[in-house]
């Protein structure tokens, strides 16, 4: 259905370049930004609640990096939206140009394009570190390739973010190994975390229509090119962690096209409350 809609828009008599930006690049940037923002928000739920002080600081630092990355993507997306136009399903301010804050605080669930994986509840520490590992393994491969994007701004954001993601990947892989190859209880908790999260991993590595289009234009990354590398990384770390790699299909999908689990609404309700209740509030 989503495919059909974007196809119809593509047929409008506008230039190819404009259509690429409006129909594919803007959704792509929002998708990348939303992934980082929502996972950053989820991780920030640990701030002040981490298992020990050092790890509280670590997960909060990772949250900060992710939210910083999302700002870079949102700023770029807002500039393109103001320049080329984009139709949101949510009610957006019309009389002025949009900012990064409008994109984060005023879009409702159906305009969010993050993967289902990042919006899942933080769960216990095992679930949090496993989710971070799945995601950082994906982001690290994605940003490595995105550095070669023909879009200079996107390449620059990827180059900047990759350095941070490398740390996230190393930290989360260490934790997966420590808990998987740890005590009976920590191993058991990792198995439960795998059960809870594996089903959402497929979506990370499957192209949506906008990803296919931006990849074809040399701007985005074709996810099929990193899928095998992602699996190799998971297998290598799981082996060291004495954890089984699930053979079942990771079947849940839809977040990247705006179809979300019930969890995203609660995150947005918390995150957007102030701007909704007191529009344009500043402090």
């Amino acid at each position: 259905m989503f495919n059909k809609t974007s196809q119809q828009i593509t047929d409008q008599p506008i230039t190819n370049h404009q259509s690429l930006i409006t129909n594919h690049l803007i959704p792509y940037l929002l998708h990348l930004a939303d992934n980082s923002l929502i996972l950053g928000h989820r991780n920030s739920e640990w701030t002040g609640h981490g298992p020990i002080l050092e790890q509280d600081i670590a997960i909060s630092n990772i949250a900060l990096d992710l939210i910083g990355q999302s700002r870079n993507f949102y700023q770029y997306a807002a500039a393109l939206v103001n320049e080329q136009g984009y139709s949101f399903k949510s009610e957006m301010p019309k009389a002025r140009s949009l900012t990064e804050d409008d994109l984060a605080y005023l879009r409702d669930v159906w305009d969010y394009k993050n993967c289902l994986l990042v919006e899942q509840p933080k769960g216990d520490w095992a679930q949090t570190v496993l989710r971070q590992f799945f995601f950082s393994a994906y982001q690290s491969l994605l940003f490595q390739q995105l550095q070669q994007s023909s879009d200079k701004q996107l390449a620059a954001i990827a180059e900047k973010s990759l350095k941070e993601t490398t740390y996230h990947l190393r930290w989360s892989a260490d934790w997966v190994i420590r808990l998987g190859d740890g005590t009976e209880e920590s191993h058991e908790r990792m198995l439960k975390a795998i059960d809870a999260l594996w089903m959402y991993c497929g979506e990370l590595l499957e192209n949506t229509s906008y990803e296919t289009e931006v990849a074809a234009a040399g701007i985005g990354v074709d996810l099929s090119s990193i899928k095998a590398h992602w699996h190799q990384k998971i297998i290598a770390v799981f082996e060291e962690a004495t954890l089984p790699v699930p053979q079942t299909e990771a079947f849940q999908r839809g977040g990247k096209d705006g179809f979300h689990s019930e969890h995203l609404g609660f995150i947005l309700a918390e995150m957007q409350y102030l701007q909704r209740a007191y529009p344009n509030a500043n402090w």
Partner: protein, 177 residues
């Protein structure tokens, strides 16, 4: 000041003025690590002067250390204030992301200042060559090489936590990035 009379007769070359602007930047401290200036840190990438219809505009290119570094807004403000105090009200701060900031840009002077402040300076060049576990970080307090990593992430994005096995003091290490 000394050259003021000269200035009236001869326009100071732009190069001289830019030198002066860099000198002002050397007195703008980093808010998290106040012993370092924004120049020591490598955050200020370029300074240029743009003339438009008689108006002079100072353009300062800055690059963030980490994407989410909360000090960046403060750094931009400190740069504005520093320039304003020196008679440059018309300032544009431009954020550049590429090439991405690296500790390789930190001045030697900056590294020494870090150490004197009690923070171990980045070891080696470039982020990819050695992992955090493989490097030897010298204790900034007793100079011992017997130290160990406590956590990849420290009090700010740019630091890791270490402890010295000889003097037992915990300390911050400015990560090679």
């Amino acid at each position: 000041m000394v050259n003021q009379e000269e200035n009236i007769n001869l326009p100071v070359s732009q190069e001289d003025e830019i030198q002066k602007l860099w000198a002002i930047m050397e007195n703008v401290p980093d808010p998290e690590v106040p012993v370092l200036s924004v120049v020591d840190l490598g955050v200020v990438r370029n300074i240029s002067i743009q003339q438009s219809s008689g108006d002079e505009k100072i353009v300062v290119d800055v690059t963030p250390t980490y994407s989410g570094c909360p000090a960046m807004d403060m750094i931009a403000m400190n740069i504005r204030i520093g320039l304003l105090q020196n008679g440059y009200p018309n300032v544009v701060i431009n954020t550049v992301l590429s090439p991405a900031w690296t500790t390789d840009w930190m001045s030697e002077n900056g590294k020494q200042k870090l150490k004197d402040f009690g923070i171990a300076p980045p070891v080696g060049k470039s982020f990819d060559t050695a992992s955090l576990e493989d490097i030897v970080v010298e204790c900034p307090l007793c100079n011992s090489n017997h130290t160990h990593l406590v956590s990849h992430f420290g009090s700010t994005s740019c630091k890791a936590l270490y402890q010295c096995d000889d003097c037992k003091e915990p300390f911050d290490y400015f990560k090679c990035h």
